[in-house]
Symmetry: none
Subunit: 569 residues, 2 copies
């Protein structure tokens, strides 16, 4: 093994290097530039249960590009059909598209390694190769000598740079390697640097290194001669500190940040760019010192980017997510809610709108009248402190919460009862009756089928009654979506003058829990709907009968939509 | 304002203080003790959508106590009926039960403040009072003078200590306050200290302070004369760094850690004890330096504690959660999985079993089979390692779990499919068909009624068919218990020779969750039954149709009961 190359190696990057991305901001002349490297499409694809299609990869790449990410790692060409297809017809991006691969294997030249060739053949302007820096892994996982591994690193980067690409070295298990054999770990990264790698990315591959140790080791790597402006960090969240580990590396001098949207990634995920980007742009000591390629305007689209990714993956968005979660600016405590009324900065560390998010002051049995007024104001209902309807409304909310309703999770239903108490709720329609059937039987061919059907009768303004039916047309054992779906389809099939208002809505979430309504167990159903304008709203129904609770939540959802869209009465 | 009391105040804690908890460990004589203060039942209750019942609070307190937490903050006596009820009959715990409240208000004495009196009247050995330390909050949110606020702090803690309790001061917005007016923030915490507060807990109330700043400020507070062994830290996760912020405070000298299970809490949640505890116990530089009240054995129950809390809240467990998530030790990348087979330490930073978790290696049946045999043994089925049925059963379980079944929560259903694969399941009866109706309509008197009815046809041994009906005899708007109840009653009305076996059963819990079955959203229903002998068992059903999923779980419940009671075939 050779550690003779540990010093030096800080060759200046050529001026025409593809990483010289034109700045998005004009105001940051004195600021240091941080480079964002997104690996949602590569490491993010290692998330359990995530399996992107090529079309989804293209859509996500476009979204990352719109956000202002510098590097988009698209996958590993040759490793699987989806990744190969993505690189066969890659989307046009301002961001530098990067192909991932690994350093050449022992026993063949870089030019003759077919795995490396597939990566280079993708023709991306930038290539990221992972390689070993931990002596234990070289000898145990690869089964080669330490010197052979250094040769593989050198030869691979010399070859990549020979093709004119920008080159990143993902130094796998670097922190464990550094602690096990400092000299060898440094020799490995310096081998890459001297062979021409533009970026050395220190990877905490198993996620086991804590932030203070990351900061210390990054500092030692820079002291060994790797320039901070060519140094990157790649953290995993196995101790729930990937964001903090990344920040510690930046404070120590690293200037490239690898991470994923929503923290997707192998095991517990990668460092979450959705949290890191606003912290770097809005929070001290970072905001006044650094800049990224993300503009203030793009940052205001962050919540939408996060939700769109969840939509693509059909995942329920994490309410408690930092910055972008639905609860990130939800003030449930009564003390907090009353202070927020006086000045939002009392309990908010940033303005919710700066990341495209919104303040929420949920109703709950802990809240008093100030909370209630705040919540009313958010629903567009300005009510004076002295309004005589206020105590009655508070009473109603509390009574219904005792019955099992949960208005902090169902803001739309809250607005409806508030408007009713205040005499500000239009009367759209009445449900006269409904009837729903679910059945399991054998069909004429002897196959088991499950079939649901529903009928709903509604009285419209002017007294006209409409009756609508739904039936599963082609029942099989799997096809039937159940009684709530049947009622929802029937209810929204013919609402007369209101039909056009609900043409673009869809049910996006459905939650059920058994709770106590007074002394009896009741079912609480919370339903989320979304419309074509991207609005999402939640309604609640409570009954001992799960179908009836669901039906009430469905009716509330329609009434709220009609209210918002100003439907005629 | 007075800052004259900033120095000094490090009076030794009396030897008989309630916080002198007997150590659980004998091996840590030289280690420094960290004290864990759990606020799941107080700050965790501020989570949007969380609303504990008193019984749930008691269950969680018992769980925290079993884990080895030092302080359990149970809520705010007097603030709402649930918290008051909890403290009226608190569970017996080894942990020190703590009541939360706030410092006395201006214009009355501590003795005459009814809010403070309600807190003390709860009679807990320990009390935690939140108070202001940020000048802006004193003047804007409270509207009192800075000196009045210091008086309130002094008088409150003098009063609490006069009643013999252990006293914690939650210094609200401390970090923002320190940055705004260092002298005043320090004056406030020293006022509490000198009035006898045992612990000064620095709260980053709006979650906006980053870890390196937390570490620096904690160091400055200690330098001002607050002893580290009386200093606590309370972080929020608004920048996804609450765990790291807590660790930074511990490194700087703080010795009490406030947090919640699964990171519940206001907005983005509190510091997650489920992540912090294993990091402090298993990871360097903490493990060799510190000890907590949690034993190595209790730590092995950590995943179970986390999942049980999710069950109580009917929340979907976060797969990517550090340490305890289902994906925390899932190795999806091919390179990782093959290295793991050679040596698990290649890609795992701790042993999964140390927190009660398990390795998941897709495509490898090796880990799966030992896990499976353990589950079979739990169901009383001893199966040899070489049993040829084992691979097929593993395949079946994996396929069904992919479809949405959750056998960890439905041991009875697991036993049934295991017995079927192993050829050890008697055939009791077949369901030929069912049909269930739920209806809302007006009755002859014009009153709204809700009514459900069901019919079920079953083939019994020998080929006899029975058909049973159920109808709500006296429908009102409230009386109907819904389609699942209707099916359950009909199904257990006439089961021929099996009728006597299910005479004493009843449905005691019913949980519904939307989950992914392959690529489609499906409904998972878990039903708990109990019989006259006090046996309780759980079964699972999965379908896009909630009624059908429930029906399958009901049928499994009967089959398991017949199996256990040795019913004839």
């Amino acid at each position: 093994m050779s550690v003779s190359d540990v010093e030096g190696g800080a060759a200046p990057r050529p001026a025409d290097s593809p990483r010289d991305i034109s700045d998005q901001k004009k105001d940051g002349a004195q600021k240091e530039r941080l480079y964002l490297f997104d690996t949602t499409l590569r490491d993010g694809q290692q998330t359990q249960g995530v399996d992107f299609s090529t079309a989804e990869k293209c859509r996500i790449a476009a979204m990352l590009d719109g956000l202002g990410i510098d590097y988009i790692e698209g996958g590993w060409p040759g490793a699987n059909p989806t990744d190969s297809e993505f690189f066969d017809a890659p989307p046009a991006t301002r961001a530098v598209l990067t192909a991932f691969g690994m350093t050449k294997r022992t026993g063949r030249s870089a030019e003759n390694d077919d795995v490396l060739a597939a990566v280079l053949n993708a023709g991306t302007p930038s290539v990221c190769l992972v390689g070993k820096t931990h002596d234990f892994h070289v000898e145990t996982a690869l089964g080669i000598t330490l010197e052979e591994n250094l040769d593989n690193i050198r030869a691979s980067f010399a070859h990549v740079k020979g093709t004119g690409r920008e080159a990143h070295f993902d130094a796998e298990h670097f922190f464990d390697g550094f602690k096990s054999n400092r000299g060898y770990a440094l020799a490995a990264v310096h081998a890459a640097l001297e062979a021409g790698a533009d970026w050395i990315v220190l990877c905490d591959t198993n996620g086991g290194t804590l932030p203070s140790e990351i900061g210390r080791i990054v500092g030692e790597v820079i002291a060994s001669g790797v320039p901070g402006e060519r140094l990157g960090i790649h953290c995993h969240n196995d101790t729930e500190t990937a964001v903090a580990g990344t920040l510690a590396a930046v404070e120590a001098g690293a200037r490239q940040i690898q991470g994923t949207l929503n923290g997707l990634g192998e095991r517990c995920g990668n460092a979450n760019l959705t949290s890191l980007i606003p912290t770097l742009m809005l929070k001290e000591p970072y905001a006044s010192r650094f800049e990224t390629g993300v503009t203030v305007e793009a940052l205001e689209g962050l919540r939408k980017v996060s939700r769109t990714l969840d939509d693509i993956l059909n995942r329920v968005p994490m309410k408690q997510a930092a910055y972008v979660g639905a609860s990130a600016f939800a003030h449930k405590a009564g003390l907090h809610a009353s202070a927020i009324l006086k000045d939002p900065t009392t309990y908010e560390h940033i303005l919710p709108g700066s990341v495209g998010n919104e303040r929420v002051v949920p109703m709950s049995n802990q809240a008093g009248q100030s909370n209630l007024r705040r919540r009313l104001a958010e629903a567009g209902l300005e009510v004076e402190r002295t309004d005589p309807a206020l105590p009655g409304l508070l009473e109603t909310v509390k009574r219904r919460e005792t019955q099992g309703y949960a208005y902090d999770s169902a803001q739309a239903s809250f607005e409806l009862i508030a408007r009713e108490e205040l005499g500000q709720m239009p009367h759209f329609f009445d449900v006269e009756r409904y009837r729903v059937i679910s059945e399991r039987r054998r069909n004429a061919q002897g196959n088991l089928v499950i079939v649901s059907e529903a009928v709903v009768t509604v009285t419209l303004p002017g007294g006209e009654q409409t009756t609508s039916f739904y039936q599963n047309e082609n029942p099989t054992e799997q096809s039937d979506a159940g009684p709530v779906n049947a009622l929802s389809v029937a209810l929204s099939k013919d609402l007369g003058p209101y039909q056009s208002y609900i043409a673009d809505w869809k049910l996006v979430d459905f939650k059920v829990r058994i709770t106590n309504g007074g002394t009896e167990a009741v079912t609480r159903v919370i339903i989320d709907h979304q419309d074509g304008q991207g609005r999402r709203w939640s309604t609640v129904g409570v009954s001992a009968n799960i179908v009836d609770a669901s039906f009430d939540a469905l009716v509330d959802a329609i009434r709220w939509k009609l209210l918002r869209d100003g439907a005629p009465v």
